[in-house]
Point group: C2
């Protein structure tokens, strides 16, 4: 059985010493996030994840969800009780606004907690995770009545939320949506259509479920400009807040999936269900994107979380399993064989896993800070800058982060050898669960196009220029430090590759957009490398400072912890940054060859 | 439901025009492999794979194998009948020697057929696949009596074979084997112990199963020098060849696995089972390696095969599924959306899949020729050269080939979006099945060590020098051709990286073997890139020749086929060769940082 230990020390390090949450204590809500509070919250969340959620991860996968003949859905044994505990502990409301019953804590803390929950049990964490996005969409676009009716219940996790976008004929291309919404005399709408792949679409965790649904009004323009957003509760809500009739929305089937078995992925049938318009008619896509951007960061974190739990179980196996001898001679001559960790190729996978998880954690938590800065920073300028940077990083965190999450999960399974392929050992579940994160909330290729086609170009490239400048500045500072100069040189070089790739895109992508499309995926990965390099520079600087300040305790909490950061950062420079140049050379070959063949040439005869 | 079409045209092209089987018609057995025969065999095998095996792939995965209370194992519905057909059609005996009932055909043909079977149904193909290895080990090391008793039955697939190496405490490190074998008065041995992960260990496809088992005699030296090989039939064989008593070997349990559900992976209990020594006492590992080397090539082909079937289903989805519009404007304005294939990032994955599958197929089939040349070439020199090259390529085909197989399977699932994650669509099975190929028959990290630690060093690097020379020569020839010069330049450059990496290993790996261990995986991938580059140069040259010779038919069998080869080769050069440099730069950073941290530094607190 695999185990999970929330990486609390690492999260504390990033929040307190790298992102330095304390420096922002003048922001609303941040004053209450003192170091003590942060530590206490992380401790409690870590305990909850490890003790309540992790033990249900394998059993939930084995058992899956069951649709009963009446269309109701039963979650696996223990999930209902775990969600009740989750709700009572208030984990769903950590970063929600206080006026709706939330605790108003910084998102960076909410993100850290979300990683823990997802690492312990991804299928479980999705239930409250999607609710966060629903809350955000309602807060941004809902009417005051809608906010009052739904948000406090969602924040309290008394009800849970869903997002209903996909239909059989459309996933990425939401312009093809067919679900219809007809205005009724009382101002409500009647929704008819079929949605598929709806995570948490039906379940027994809460009495009510609040669906946010994309649909088309009768005379809506074709394509994405004719899509509106509706809120459709499973049980109608009376004016006094009590629950009323069952709405005409139901789960028609559960999907059989490769992984995340414990999350109910539903076909949802809307048979004249009653819903209400959220925001303006035909502006539904923009509203849904508010939800989706939150969800994308959450999905990036799922990649990290699965990498983390797989890494932990890879580490423990590498220390326990004995096989072969160190190349330099027996490390433990008294035993019949040495532990796996003596083998350089096992080390390679472990160091990759360490460099990736710690780097992605820093990047995700930085994004958590940017979420707040984009809303709460003092000046409009600062808010704008944070929002731009967050927009730029979101596809990278989602796309690059989940690609790496799958890679680490796969490597850690590999390290277990044949035992990694056996269900009971749990390593293969991490791979199956991690796999979906590359696909949903916009497949990673779509993230790459979002980055290259939208985020790069925005405001004349303001965001990417700001990113270049941050990296350059960090490299410059680090280059003066003996412990960091090697890494700084390598990250600086990778940043140079990113600049060159950006220039190439400007010169070749506008005239022939296929050049941009053919380059996008590689570009996203170069940017991911540089972004993680930036994180390793910042973590390195924080480690150097802690060591200079006299971190003394010679244990995993003290000097050793910081020294390991310096080694891991050096490793990242050595073994990750060289890819930036190769990726740049690949994308610079352009799209001509890639696009040359007709479809018939791909078929086998 | 996914479909499978054996890539017959491509196999024919490689066998007849690239490897040019006709040039070797003076070798024993090759005279009967005329073009017509090759074509007919491939056609029949392709039909069998597509019509008999492919329809059982998804159902076999869903149903799995069942161990009955009496320890017998039932394979999924249809498997028994399919194996009877397989046996009757003689697919198992294609490349087996004629004196034991085989057809004595060249291995290149057997390899092509093996790919088809494995692409259609990997779990099925493993049953006869392992038998091939058992035949080879018995032919090499068995006594005349053993050969006579077992080989004809195995060749005829009347019985099937297994290999029993792994035990709970040992996989890679076979020196830790505990299963004991005690000599009896009649010259037989009594075997006692537990083997795990035994593919096809017990099943209902054949009446008898012939186990090849590694065990230790009482006074055997410790470690790998004390291991002997035994043949242990499930049913004892009487002197007249009839079947006798049930032997004391049984399946104690079936493993629950991530994939290849339809292959019975057994815990095998030897409770005083009767066996006979194969070859010399304490020389069992060398004997088993004969079987293992065949198996490794077969596993490499499994990687290719899963990539191929996933690719085919990726291609068909990319042509049918409509989502979004071409970046250059609607490709099919009459439809609501364009097919996926218009999107460059979808193309990237398809072209990757095409370049990888066709490249790996050429490499695997070349290895098939080398198997025969190593045994049958006229001069000892030629046989030695073929054997060396085969030894060098085996870990690359297994390690790099299965890494790429998993990558293509994952990419093709990605191309299907959310639908790729749904069990019924079959794409996720290809990923789960492909995954094991990276693990078993020596995990890919072990392949890398075999390449760097054993194959490179052998005879003062004779094999790698020969490989360099082949690549250089091919690059030189190709550089004069306008259609191939770009690819030749890029492959030449990658070969330069491989040479530099080899030099670095010589200078840094001997003094500190951890440098070799830390470099091995990257080195294997560089060599894989160069090997596939060599294949693309050879395929390019064959295509140029066919076009010059006047291949006229303007369809997928004629000019279009050859022109697509040239485009795909160019793509391989553009998008794969740049990695060689990055990998070389990574490995040249050495093992110091990689090995710096104590195990405690990896644990989370």
């Amino acid at each position: 059985m695999p185990s999970y230990h929330a990486p609390m020390r690492d999260a504390r390090f990033i929040i307190n010493e790298v992102v330095r949450l304390g420096d922002y204590s003048d922001l609303p809500g941040f004053e209450s996030a003192s170091r003590d509070i942060v530590d206490a919250v992380l401790d409690e969340a870590g305990k909850f994840a490890a003790e309540v959620l992790a033990p249900l991860n394998a059993s939930g996968d084995q058992e899956g969800c069951i649709r009963q003949t009446d269309g109701s859905v039963t979650t696996p044994e223990g999930f209902k009780r775990a969600h009740a505990l989750f709700r009572e502990s208030g984990w769903g409301m950590l970063s929600a606004p206080e006026e709706f019953g939330g605790q108003g804590m910084p998102h960076i803390l909410g993100f850290a907690v979300e990683e823990f929950m997802s690492g312990a049990n991804m299928a479980f964490a999705m239930y409250p995770g999607l609710t966060n996005g629903a809350v955000r969409a309602l807060l941004a676009k809902g009417s005051p009545d809608q906010k009052m009716a739904y948000v406090p219940k969602l924040v309290a996790n008394e009800w849970l939320g869903t997002m209903n976008l996909t239909e059989p004929q459309c996933g990425t291309d939401l312009g093809l949506i067919r679900t219809s919404a007809e205005l009724q005399a009382d101002g409500s709408y009647t929704l008819t259509g079929t949605k598929i792949f709806i995570s948490a679409g039906e379940h027994d965790l809460t009495e009510n479920i609040i669906h946010l649904v994309l649909a088309r009004t009768p005379d809506a323009p074709e394509g994405t400009k004719g899509i509106s957003l509706f809120v459709v509760p499973k049980l109608l809500v009376n004016e006094d807040g009590s629950l009323g009739d069952r709405n005409a929305v139901s789960c028609g089937a559960l999907e059989h999936k490769m992984g995340i078995h414990a999350n109910a992925t539903c076909v949802m049938n809307y048979d004249g269900a009653t819903g209400w318009l959220v925001g303006e008619e035909n502006k539904g896509l923009a509203a849904m994107f508010i939800m989706m951007n939150t969800a994308r960061l959450g999905v990036g974190m799922q990649g990290l979380a699965q990498a983390e739990v797989a890494y932990q179980n890879g580490v423990s196996y590498a220390g326990e399993r004995r096989q072969g001898r160190a190349l330099t001679g027996p490390a433990e001559p008294g035993e019949k064989a040495d532990p796996l960790i003596v083998h350089p190729d096992v080390r390679r996978m472990l160091m990759d896993g360490k460099a990736i998880t710690e780097g992605l954690r820093a990047l995700s938590l930085w994004a958590g800070l940017l979420v707040d800065l984009a809303q709460k920073a003092e000046s409009e300028d600062e808010r704008g800058q944070a929002d731009d940077m967050l927009g730029l990083l979101t596809p990278v965190i989602k796309g690059y982060g989940t690609d790496l999450g799958y890679r680490v999960a796969t490597d850690m399974q590999q390290l277990w050898g044949g035992h990694g392929y056996i269900v009971e050992n749990g390593m293969e579940q991490f791979v199956r669960d991690a796999r979906i994160a590359m696909i949903y909330e916009g497949a990673n290729g779509v993230q790459a196009m979002d980055l290259v086609g939208r985020k790069l170009a925005k405001d004349g490239g303001k965001a990417i220029q700001a990113f270049f400048a941050e990296v350059d500045a960090e490299c410059k500072t680090a280059s003066d430090n003996e412990q960091l100069s090697d890494l700084a040189g390598r990250v600086g070089k990778a940043n140079g590759e990113l600049k060159a790739a950006t220039m190439w895109l400007m010169q070749n992508g506008l005239g022939n957009p296929n050049n941009a499309g053919g380059a996008a995926y590689h570009y996203m990965h170069i940017m991911g490398i540089v972004a993680l390099g930036l994180m390793w520079l910042r973590m390195g600087a924080a480690a150097v400072k802690a060591l200079e300040d006299g971190a003394q305790t010679d244990d995993s909490q003290g000097r050793d912890f910081y020294e390991a950061k310096l080694v891991t950062g050096r490793y990242f420079g050595e073994r990750f940054t060289p890819d930036a140049g190769a990726l740049r050379r690949k994308l610079e070959t352009g799209a001509e060859t890639m696009m040359a063949l007709p479809i018939e040439a791909f078929a086998r005869t």
